[in-house]
Every structure is written in C-alpha cells, then in structure tokens.
C-alpha cells in the first residue's frame, strides 16, 4: 500500500493491493522519428491503429531505464514521446539507448496498475444521447446502459485537456463514428462515446462524440494535493448510480466524485 494512500485516506477510502499479469516480451514493429529538436516519438504499428499496451509497457521501461539526458517520457495511443536535453545528449545517443530498451525483455513489474471505481450514471439528462448511441450500436437503451456501466476500461491516453482520460476499449458494437456536427457543450464529468472509447471530460467542452453519461470525478484540479488523478494504464470501472447521487458527490471538495482507487504494488 504505497502510492496515494495518504491522499485517498483523506476521503476515507481504503486502497488494496492487486496483482497484474506482466507482459515481458520485447516490443515489436516500431519506428523512431523526430518530434521537434528535442523529441523522439517511438511509434508501434503504422500509427493508424491503437497499440496502447505496447506504448504503456515501453513507456514504463524507458522511465525505469533512466536514460542519460532524457527529461520527459509520455505515452499515447500508439506511441511514446521521449524528450531530451540537447545540451546533455545528442539525438543519436538517445535513439541508440531507446533501441536497447526496445529489444530488451520487459522487466516484470515495470507497469504499475491502479483500478478506479467511479460512481456514474448513464442516460436521461446526464446522458441525453444514450438512446441515439444505443441505436447506432444496435441495442436497446437499457442494454446500452448495462453494457457501458459494466465495461471495465483502461486509461489509453491522457490528453486534449489536463488530466482528461481516453478510456477503452469498449466492445466492438461501440465502434461509433463521430457526429457530423459538434454537440455545443457538455459539462465537466460528461462521458462521451465514439470509436470504442469513452472520454471523461475534465472541463465543459464542445464535443464531436455522443454524450451518454456523467460522473462527478474531476481528472484535474490545480489546487488538489495530487492535481492529476489518473495516468495511462490505470483501469476504470463504474459504480452505477443515479443523477441525484452524482450531484451530491459533486459537492465534495476533493473533486474525486466518490471514486475508489485500488493500487497495485
């Protein structure tokens, strides 16, 4: 019980230990390219399909390797960004070190998993496009609510807004296209769906995805002791509840919306 215990203890939540299977195979099918004068993107696959497990595993391995001159490591859906200080190390040396990490077997335990359980509701005023999305997914609204609420998803990437998670992947039926027109505004905490993914909006925002649910979880609060709640690789499941409960949880000053976080060793 290490990470975040004191933080979650403040809200009376208890962290328990989980064990996750480790993938120790070396990465395959990767390319290195420049992103600006101080960046290297390591991309898995052809960049047209998500390779999240490879990206998150490699990101953890690069961090653990503590490579000379590397100042920042971040993971996205298909890739890992490695930023370096050109005054300390040349691009060619960073690339050589990254190739060594790429071909090495993964160290077991390099990826640390956390499991979030977040109260959420789907449909109604908190998800006005659920019926619309359910029809596109070929199921009843009730079935759609049950499937979304019951799906365990992973944080595939964080981006677009501070702390904001892309969650997936949902079952194949949820491979929905973006809308033709933007929904002008969804509230902070809105859950929107497309492309077998959910986004949990950090701030009120327009969106091209369909608004199907809502929670009181705020992924980013600058004034919170840990401003950014989630990171790539975390897993998320939903505790189905009603709108009035979500509203009440939204009043809690920690902005965690009643979420429980369980931490792996």
């Amino acid at each position: 019980m290490t990470l975040g215990v004191s933080r979650w203890a403040l809200t009376g939540k208890v962290c328990v230990l989980l064990s996750l299977p480790d993938d120790t195979r070396p990465a395959e099918n990767w390319t290195l390219s420049a992103l600006g004068q101080d960046g290297i993107v390591v991309r898995f696959g052809d960049g047209r399909q998500a390779q999240t497990a490879a990206a998150i595993g490699f990101g953890a391995a690069v961090r653990a390797a503590e490579l000379e001159g590397v100042v920042e490591v971040a993971t996205a859906l298909t890739s890992v960004l490695v930023r370096f200080d050109p005054m300390l190390v040349a691009r060619a040396a960073v690339e050589a070190n990254l190739r060594d990490v790429l071909v090495a077997p993964r160290v077991a335990g390099a990826t640390q998993g956390r499991l979030w359980t977040i109260p959420a509701c789907f449909g109604g005023e908190s998800g006005p496009q659920l019926a619309d999305a359910a029809a596109l997914a070929g199921m009843s609204e009730a079935a759609a609510r049950a499937e979304l609420a019951g799906a365990e998803v992973s944080v595939l990437a964080i981006g677009f807004a501070p702390g904001q998670p892309y969650l997936g992947h949902l079952p194949q039926a949820w491979d929905l296209p973006r809308q033709q027109a933007l929904t002008p505004q969804v509230p902070a905490g809105a859950l929107v769906v497309a492309l077998r993914q959910l986004v949990l909006f950090a701030n009120p925002s327009p969106t091209g995805w369909r608004w199907v649910g809502r929670c009181a979880f705020r992924p980013f609060m600058a004034e919170r002791a840990a401003p950014f709640a989630m990171r790539a690789g975390d897993r998320v499941r939903w505790a189905l509840t009603d709108e009035s409960t979500i509203d009440a949880l939204g009043a809690e000053p920690d902005g965690l919306g009643g979420a429980l976080c369980e931490v792996a060793p």
């Binding site: 390219s33 420049a34 992103l35 600006g36 004068q37 101080d38 960046g39 993107v41 991309r43 960049g47 047209r48 399909q49 998500a50 100042v71 920042e72 490591v73 971040a74 993971t75 996205a76 859906l77 298909t78 890739s79 960004l81 930023r83 050109p86 005054m87 040349a90 691009r91 990437a157 964080i158 981006g159 677009f160 807004a161 501070p162 702390g163 904001q164 892309y166 950090a202 701030n203 980013f220 600058a222 401003p227 950014f228 990171r231 790539a232």
Partner: protein, 337 residues
C-alpha cells in the same frame, strides 16, 4: 519591498506569461508560456538576472500605474508606449514612478508585446509557473481593475536592445516529424512552394494559415491521435495548415506535415494578420544543428544590450531618473534579489 502594478485599462487579450510548465505532457498539459519566448529572454537581458514573468499583450496594450518605483522592460511586438505622454523606446528598459501613467497602445510591428517588470510576479504560481494557460483553464486574462503584485525590483539604468527583424512574417524552417511520410513527396514540395497568410483567427493555441487554391491532404486519411508539439503544422479536415502554438493540445488526430524549428516559432507568433509566411524544409540533422538553448540565447542577448541614451531635452523628469536608479550608464547587471 513589493510594488503594486494597477491595470487601469486592458486590451482584449492580456495575460501573465513566463516560460511555462514543461514536463507535463503525460498528464495532458502542454508547456504553455509566452508566445514569443525570445521577448522574455530579451527582457531578462535588459533588466539583468534571469528570465521572469511578464504581461503578454496581443495586438493592444493597456494603461498602468504603480504605488512604488517600478523598473520594467518593453519587448516583443513593437507597440506605441508612453509615460505621461512622453514616448518610450521599445525593446528597452524604463522606470515608472508613482503618480505616472504608462500607456501602451496598438501594435506597430508584430503581434505580441510584453511588459516585463524587473521584479518577480507574485502570488500567481500554479504548478510552478505564473503563466496563464487559457485553454487548460489555469489563470486567466488580465482585465481592467486587476492588480499585479511585483517583488523587489532593484535599481538599474535604462538599457536597449537592437530592433528585431522577425516581427513581419517571412520564412519558417520546417523539420520532418512522425507523420511527414503520410504526405506525398509532391504534396510536401508544394507545401514549401506556397505562400501563406496568417489568419485573423490565430490565438495562443494555434495559428491557422490562409492561402489561395487547393488545400493539403495526407495519404490514406487520418492517423490515430498522437503527440503534438509546439511548431507542428497540422493539416485540418478542410486542408488548412495550422501551426500549433504555446497552448496546443498534447495529442491530436489531424496529420502533421512537419514541425517549425524553435528558432522560428517567435517569427510565426509575431506575424501580423495577413503577413506572408513560407516554409523551407530542413532535415533532422540540420534542424538539430540549428538548436540554440535558451540559456545561450540569453547570454547572446546580454552581450547585445547597450545603455539607453536619452536626449536630455526630452527628460522632463531628469532628477527622478538619477534619484531612483542611483546608477549611471553602466552596463552592470545586478542580480535579482
């Protein structure tokens, strides 16, 4: 002793900016900070000491007063500026005394001007930086009635830097990035042969470019969302190129044809509406060779600083200059307290 800087009038987009918050891409927060980082380096050269926060003013400045003497620099886009009606030299450091009114008006060259106090901006740090990150909701715009608290300012004589030549558009050097190969060789060549104009829609997040004729397109549609860096030139769905700027998102789904090198990002930011911009391809090795760390840029700027020579006939407040600064025309840089 701290100084209160009163904002009596504010242009439509004024905010406190420093060099931003690097190192948080993993949690979805781009570095942010000044649109023209060179302007903050120049201010540090003029004022002595290290880089500190200033007030970024897009297109239009504001009206300012102080309750204690404030040494400050004016850098970046050249704007009309005066103290009690007497014109001030831009790209130079000056003094503002209690009872005087500093008026900074419309831009004359470039887009983003900076008013940088000699002391630190106090009480605005979030996640280690005072910079407003408007798209992330950190901090906000400065408005009339706001008060900016400034730390001790120290003494120092007026200084000046040579005029800049990157405030009117021109050529931006473009290095290949992770998605450059998603564009055909012919499309990449056409990109470098095209004259673009800065769109009026540009902001701290992105700078759209206008052109006549056909837009640009990647081969085979859009990639999965991937990392974006400031300087990336994103091609949106309708073929419009958009240069990603200080507050860009950390990941994005549109393909990017290349990345403007850091040395040319200030030129991109400062291009006025309608200014012509072109791109010139440089390979990765050439781009890396062109990288100059900001510490080295600051050293070079400090070497270029000269005393600001005033015409005594225009120095109605000659006595106050001597009393306040206590320093003559020396070029000594006092350390910040």
């Amino acid at each position: 002793m701290t100084v209160r800087l009163f904002v009596d009038a504010a242009g439509p987009l004024m905010s406190v900016q420093d060099l931003g918050r690097p190192g948080r891409i993993d949690v979805g927060l781009s570095r942010g900070g000044a649109m023209d980082r060179t302007a903050l380096l120049g201010a540090a050269a003029l004022l002595g000491g290290g880089v500190r926060a200033g007030i970024e003013m897009a297109g239009m400045g504001g009206t300012f007063r102080v309750d204690a003497p404030l040494r400050f620099a004016l850098t970046g886009a050249v704007m009309r500026a005066s103290v009690d009606g007497q014109a001030l030299r831009w790209n130079a450091s000056h003094m503002l005394l209690p009872g005087q009114v500093l008026v900074i008006g419309a831009v004359r060259a470039g887009s983003y001007g900076y008013l940088v106090p000699a002391g630190a901006v106090l009480g605005r740090d979030v996640l280690g930086s005072a910079a407003a990150h408007l798209s992330a909701g950190l901090g906000g715009r400065l408005q009339a009635g706001d008060v900016v608290q400034i730390g001790a300012v120290g003494a120092g004589a007026g200084q000046v830097l040579p005029d800049r030549d990157d405030l009117g558009g021109g050529t931006l050097r473009l290095m290949p990035g992770p998605q450059t190969q998603m564009f055909s060789a012919a499309e990449r060549a056409r990109f470098a042969q095209t004259v673009f104009h800065r769109s009026p829609q540009a902001n701290r997040t992105a700078l759209p470019l206008m052109k006549d004729g056909a837009g640009f397109a990647a081969l085979g549609g859009n990639p999965v969302s991937d990392f974006i860096a400031p300087g990336d030139v994103q091609i949106t769905g309708d073929g419009t190129p958009v240069v990603m700027m200080a507050e860009c998102q950390t990941v994005g789904g549109y393909p990017r044809i290349g990345t403007v090198i850091a040395a040319d990002l200030a030129r991109a930011a400062q291009a006025p509406v309608g200014a012509a911009l072109r791109f010139e391809w440089v390979d990765v090795g050439r781009a890396d060779a062109l990288f100059v760390p900001e510490a080295q840029q600051l050293t070079a700027l400090k070497a270029a600083v000269r005393p600001l020579v005033r015409d005594p006939r225009n120095m109605h407040d000659l006595l106050s200059y001597q009393l306040i600064s206590g320093v003559t025309a020396g070029r000594d840089m006092e350390p910040l307290p």
